[in-house]
């Protein structure tokens, strides 16, 4: 939390030194860049339809062809990156923040609270995601927010468990014991001393989790439970592509490629981040 700028620079430099990490950094950078500046990059309005020009293959005017409504697939892919980040970032960071808080409370707080929270985590984890998602979507209706909610709810337990384990390990370490004997408040111990030591591990987990979130959105879209049309998510693209695969393969390619590239980017970034944040693991290699 209080990492100074130079520390962040050290981390980035550390990641960039690893070839895979460098690749991850470049890919993620490109995705974030294209998402932020999507409006300037896209050659067409991603929801503007032109039915006469539908289902075309790639050409100079439409780099990835067009969909069943004559919308430019490339523009939809780029804007879809924005949607993916809009789902993935709040979901992952939300889950991380809540999981971290609950996990630390479970690890540091009274035993009954720990038991209760662990039971809650295990319960959520025990539903197959799709079943849980279906019930939630049926309950509140499909939308971007619903997808975020589902993803968040299903991944809180993972962060919570890791945060709890870390807290348990730290709680008996010498410097925490020293703090406690000096009468530091629980909030202070958790916030000032434990948090910085736990957050790194969770950040690694979060980076690696983003592709899973994107894939989950695609799965929900396939079942007709994703974001609202005409929002161009990668999952919606794949769903249309699935239905039209023998008319035009370009929708599946257009929706599938960015998911694979994003997965590579975030995974490599996450792995090299781990190597930097947690040098112990590196030592073994």
């Amino acid at each position: 939390m209080e990492k100074s700028q130079s520390e962040i620079r050290i981390i980035i430099v550390g990641i960039a030194k690893n070839p895979l990490g460098f690749m991850g950094l470049v890919i993620v950078g490109a995705i974030v860049f294209s998402a932020i500046f999507a409006a300037w990059i896209v050659p067409y309005d991603p929801i503007e339809m032109n039915i006469r020009d539908r289902m075309q293959g790639p050409s100079w005017s439409h780099l990835l062809g067009t969909d069943q409504l004559g919308r430019d697939t490339f523009s939809r892919v780029i804007t879809g990156g924005q949607v993916a980040l809009k789902v993935a970032l709040p979901a992952v960071f939300g889950a991380m923040a809540i999981g971290l808080t609950l996990g630390m409370v479970a690890g540091y707080g009274p035993k009954w609270l720990d038991n209760f929270l662990m039971l809650l985590f295990d319960t959520i984890r025990s539903f197959p995601t799709v079943m849980f998602a279906l019930a939630v979507v049926a309950l509140v209706g499909p939308s971007l927010q619903t997808v975020v909610l589902v993803v968040m709810a299903t991944s809180i337990p993972t962060y919570g468990r890791v945060a709890r384990t870390q807290t348990l390990t730290l709680r008996n370490s010498e410097f925490i014991l020293a703090e406690r004997s000096m009468g530091a408040s629980m909030a202070r111990i958790l916030g000032v001393h434990m948090l910085p030591n736990i957050i790194g591990v969770l950040a690694v987990l979060a980076a690696m989790d983003i592709p899973t979130v994107i894939a989950l959105e695609a799965g929900l879209s396939f079942l007709g439970l994703g974001v609202k049309p005409p929002t161009p998510s990668w999952g919606a693209l794949l769903k249309d592509g699935y239905a039209l695969v023998r008319q035009t393969p370009w929708l599946v390619i257009g929706g599938g490629l960015p998911i694979i590239v994003a997965t590579l980017g975030f995974t490599f970034l996450g792995e090299s981040l781990r190597d930097v944040v947690d040098p112990k693991l590196r030592k073994n290699q």
Binding site: P142, G224, R246
Partner: protein, 520 residues
Amino acid sequence: MKIEWTKTPIGRRKFLKGATALGATAALPMGFGGSALAQESGTLRVRAYGDAPNMDPAHSVGVVEEEIHSSIYNKLVQYKPGSEWGWQLDAASSIEQVDPTHIKFALRDDIGFTNGHGAMTAEDVKFSFERIIADETESPNKPDMGPLSHVEVTGEREGTIVLNEPFAPLWSIALPYITGNIVSKSAVEGAGGRINSEPVAESGPYLRASWSPKAKTVLQRNPDWKGDAPAWDTIEIYPIDDENTAEIAFEAGELDLTRVSLGSVARYRDGVPNGGTLVENPSLFYVWLGMNLDHPKLQNQKLRQAIQHAIDVPTILEASYFGAADPSTGIIAPGLAGNRAEGLVAAEANVEKAMALLAESGESNVTLTLDILNKTTYTTMAQVIQAMLAQIGIALEINVLESGAFWASGDNENLQLVLNRYSMAPDPSYATAWFTSAQAGIWNWERFRNEEFDAIHSAASAETDTAKRATMYQRAQDLMEESGAYRFITHEATPVIHSSRVIPALRPDGLSLLRYFGKA
């Protein structure tokens, strides 16, 4: 008096939301039948869009079950395969309408039930038909039998069907469809009055040899069948609800016949793999955009009319059905009595008129929601409508619902616009039944209430003069359209592909009549 309805087909009503009731996530209740390249030359492999767990015609919920029931049970008359609606004799050796309320029939003497339940007699016919209308059966198909009073048994194999009043759909729905199936009296009574997943006694050209839930149903030739021998020894019916999967299975040579998606028609017109054939059939289903007349935002008739005129139906059909379906003028398809040659609002949009109507209405900054089912066809359609309404300055938000929530829209008072599709049987009364005042808030989601419409609906079923009957139903649809609550879109189509081994026997709307399938 014999009612001829081959020339002027009378529709029959069928089950509206068959798919929901069946539980298929898809509300695509048409795809059916077909056969596949089986290794054994005697096996026909066809696709059904859902599983058929129930062998009781009284509790059948639609075409998926009927396709099996009509193979393992007999009816007095069966639908005739071909492009025009008509019937042919089955268990009846003769049948005649002696007056508007009496129908005399005689049974063939060579039909017997399995499991030792003996020959089929007039008692079985009486039992089967009266069972449908009996309260304790709780049959959802009771309306199909309409004003049936009773069946008089006049001989071992002779009887008379007696109606309380004339009933036009008798020949188009009651006898040749779900409620016409004849079951064995002794077998059903022996089973406590209800058939579940096991047919207690069969009599048709096929017997249901096995059922693996959600995997397949196998029909096998009935060795004791004395009628015209069916061409195939074995029929395997696969429940597949995903159209893409069904098409892939056909192309992989694992199905002989399947309904295909309208989006694939253009591709199959250029050639069907494995030397197969594409058959394009019309469909009776109807798709429309409805507006909830009880919603505060939709009180202004000019606004509703503006919406009617702003929507360009040909564009919608091009986008979501790839041009493989034609615009409709109402809820009654061509080929049925009461079909309108033209609607009051043209299929093409009239944007100027729409804008003028909107200006007249005095409404501004209109924002509405459109509820749809979560299928690609409807999301595509909804996005086109969204763009069209945006042209006249109406902002539309699309609500995508999974099928359980969607089909519960009847009691959703906040419903505004909705894209809907009901299935249909070949009688116009089947369509108007859902739009009466009594159905408001149940299946009449627009909450359209019109006394004249209600009167037409109840009078038209008893009208046996086909021309008069047609005029009545045309008027009924005018009333619907005038209310501004409806924008009729299409009746879709039922494109079917089949392999070169098969000579399919299809109803005019493309559904399979398996017992009449031939070998090429």
